[in-house]
Symmetry: C2
Subunit: 340 residues, 2 copies
């Protein structure tokens, strides 16, 4: 089982997961997960025909009559073969570890799955058709809903790594789902700030942000009930946030029509990044309300954050947790708008 350790100086959580190091690419240098060309790839465990190379599927989108773990699927969800977290007996939520004590660690259980976006080895999310992207969004929702029901899960983190330099170790387009026994610090930080904003007399911090950005120079798109703008204080050049215009605390409360509209907006956004920046490596991740929060509450607003990984963090960023960004988001948004 993986181990949760707390940095004795900063209090930050680290998941120590040595089993993942069995993965050959793990200590390799960036740049080994590039696409190019079309179709399938013989050695790829995510390509049709290679279903036996992954654990058994936990969810699938396929025409009726197709047999489990056989070709013919449109989207497939399987446990990660090299999981950062594995199911196990209920483990702590990390709260206990924040009590005094110098070197704190505990076993940590959870789920780690892979959503294989499509049978096409080389198509990134930006290159799928509208239906294909909507299918991925539905898988996000359905896996978040499935894991929230598990005992001891505090948060379900969905992420997508695209391209060499993004952390991706397999190039066949896929997302990852991490069901965690704790709420990650970054999400908790956002929740805390959003609650404080409301307490100070504001409404939903994100709704106010949408209102401030929707006619401004950082706007990238505003369509079908979704808005995307370049982040005011970005961690990476071209960082862009995508949110529903109407207040909604939980992504996983979305209905099919909403996910279809979301898929279309996301597809347009990713397309502008693909064309404007030449298919750069990127991370895309979902922030939704933690499991402990009510289904609907007035302060947190789910959203995606998209981080192109064209710049790298150096010692200054690592030492200070402060980023030096060289591209004004106002210019980044102009470029992305022009490539929609």
């Amino acid at each position: 089982m993986a181990e949760l350790r707390i940095n004795p100086v900063t209090g930050e959580r680290v998941i120590l997961s040595p089993r993942r190091a069995a993965r050959p690419a793990d200590l390799a240098r960036p740049g080994d997960a590039q696409g190019g060309g079309r179709g399938l790839e013989a050695g790829c465990p995510f390509c049709p025909g290679n279903e036996a190379e992954t654990p058994l599927e936990v969810m699938v989108r396929a025409p009726e009559g197709r047999l489990p773990d056989q070709p013919g699927w449109l989207l497939r969800v399987v446990p990660n073969l090299y999981p950062a977290l594995e199911p196990g007996k209920r483990t702590g939520d990390g709260t206990a570890s924040r009590e005094p004590g110098l070197l704190q660690s505990s076993p940590v259980a959870g789920f780690h799955e892979v959503i294989i976006h499509s049978p096409d080895h080389h198509a990134g999310l930006a290159e799928l058709d509208a239906q294909g992207v909507a299918r991925v969004m539905e898988a996000y929702r359905d896996r978040v809903l499935a894991h929230r029901r598990e005992p001891g899960i505090g948060y379900v983190q969905v992420i997508l790594n695209h391209g060499g330099g993004s952390g991706a170790s397999l190039s066949h387009s896929h997302s990852q789902v991490f069901a965690l026994p704790f709420v990650p610090s970054r999400v908790e930080l956002e929740m805390r700030r959003a609650r404080a904003w409301r307490r100070r007399g504001g409404g939903c911090l994100f709704c106010e942000l949408i209102e401030a950005e929707r006619r401004g120079e950082r706007l990238v798109l505003d369509e079908g009930g979704f808005i995307a703008f370049c982040a005011f204080a970005p961690r990476f050049p071209f960082e862009t946030w995508l949110l529903p215009r109407a207040h909604a605390s939980r992504f996983e409360g979305s209905d099919d029509a909403g996910l279809e509209a979301l898929g279309e907006a996301l597809r347009h956004l990713l397309g502008s990044v693909f064309r404007g920046l030449g298919d750069p490596p990127y991370n895309l991740y979902l922030h939704t309300s933690p499991c402990y929060a009510k289904a609907s509450h007035p302060y947190y607003h789910w959203h995606f954050e998209l981080l192109p990984r064209l710049a790298e963090w150096g010692g200054f960023e690592m030492a200070s947790d402060t980023v030096i960004c060289t591209v004004p988001p106002e210019e980044a948004a102009g470029l992305l708008r022009s490539r929609l």
Copy 2:
């Protein structure tokens, strides 16, 4: 002048410094700052003979009689030609920006310097002789002392990026000094936790950590009054901390003898990383007490953190501020000890 922006959702600081983007390598992919071979390099602004390509030196170590900004130096400090921060009228410490307000930004002034470690283009810090490393440590101390005296400086951050993938954009071995009008969040977090530790009845958090690690399996070296161990909850595989054994709040209070011993310990540590991991890219940074703290106080303990950059952060790390680490620090320390 650069602009300080506050992320409206997380409160994090970002320094927006578009002028640095003039630098051609800035949006280039990692991997372009590799060493190899010996001697000087014609196009390198840090090599002897090319002194005119940098701003005028602000500090130098050279034999007597050598003319300013001419060859003959052993170590040279110059302002960064593409500064993230530039001197200017006194700017805020970022505190004001933490008051309510959705999109907050302010001009930000400071200093950004380069310490050129030696005339040798290809020698990393690990490859300098003992005197050479001690000279670099003295330059760290002297620049921190010089900048602390400037009005409006809250913290002086010294960092070293080594090799492609570390954030380095020039391969000639050098460090960077950032004199900031605020205390970086990561340093403030460490200070806050160290104060809380003491309030709860502990002594110095770091002194207790040294006591816990000095006979343990994460120990790398213990010599000349300095100790290095692999971090219990590392952000990167092989992350190692180096601290003085005796309590000391400020690095810049070190005397020449102390810096000589430090240089020797650091040289041994970097040598084991060089040999054990094949000259990997790394970040090395100093954490010392902020300018607001008394010269000597009982809770903060200066130290270096060394982060080899063999693994990369992906979407999970970016989404959650939680790291998945695949190499147990106990194994990392064993490898480093064996290559001392």
